[in-house]
Symmetry: C2
DNA sequence: ATAAATACTACCTTTATGGTCGTGTTTTAT
DNA sequence: ATAAAACACGACCATAAAGGTAGTATTTAT
């Protein structure tokens, strides 16, 4: 049960944008450099963030990326779901035909309960809080930029 | 971010044992039949449950398996960790050398916080509760045995 | 026009999952 | 004793998903 690198990279990309919000679009090349992700790969990943409405892409010369929402309005859940799709810890692909209808799968309801709790918790952590945590704890320390 | 089939099978195996606690050991063949898992595969999976102290194996003729603890004493977290190892949603394998020491990785502490919340939540759901849920909701409905 | 930027599509490599198979070892009823 | 019935374990394999690369197309400020 892991967050994929896509999810983690997604968060780092947003954090990077939040920390470099100068008014001008930030180049994917710069984000990639800071975050130690290949430029190509990042340019693919960031599409998901754009499609989820978390990031605005400015195309063409002098283009780049900016956050589309305030960091306080972006939750961890949004980020992860943007990158990985809906967060569900079980698929229940095998049963639904038979017992999905019956809704009597005891383990399923247990998993569903956990799933709801996880989503709930993640929806209450915002990018802003992570930024603040970073500014408080990390800014002074010697941390490589890509380790944001 | 999924619970693997190992984790789900593990829970079903324990639930099966809880529901067939007649005083006699339950045969792996019978569990496998009820749960639609191959006998061979199940006999491998259940080892993890035994090693975690959740199940007692009685060897030899007239042997089989029984729960080693009361269902109320078995948490979902124990089951999942027995099957999948320690529950951690991120590895942080790349950074620890550089920034693990600094403990200043902002995303890491965010992930860690979520991870703790998940473990905490899962540790408060017991097998007994799942059994009760099944008895209440599912016993009457037409649910295949393997869909417990 | 053209240089600078993102958008998209196709493909590839590696790793993890989810299993099977065969054989060995222990226990117990007889 | 011994055969039958059970678990134990290691080696192996197929498939899917993750993670990543490369090349081309499209858009836009100047």
């Amino acid at each position: 049960m892991k967050i994929s690198t896509k999810g983690r990279y997604g968060l780092r990309i947003l954090l990077d944008l939040a920390l470099h919000d100068s008014g001008e679009p930030r180049l994917s090349r710069d984000i990639a450099g800071s975050q130690q992700i290949s430029e190509k790969y990042l340019s693919r990943l960031i599409i998901a963030l754009r499609e989820a409405g978390l990031v605005r892409a400015i195309r063409g010369a002098r283009g780049g990326f900016r956050l589309r929402k305030q960091p306080a309005e972006i939750s961890l859940l949004e980020v992860v779901e943007a990158m990985e799709g809906p967060l569900s810890i079980v698929d229940c692909v095998r049963c639904p035909a038979q017992c999905g209808r019956a809704e009597a799968c005891a383990t399923r309801s247990a998993w569903a309960e956990i799933n709801t709790a996880i989503r709930d918790r993640m929806s209450r952590v915002t990018l802003q809080e992570i930024v603040d945590g970073h500014r408080r704890d990390g800014a002074a320390a010697e941390v490589p930029d890509y380790c944001i």
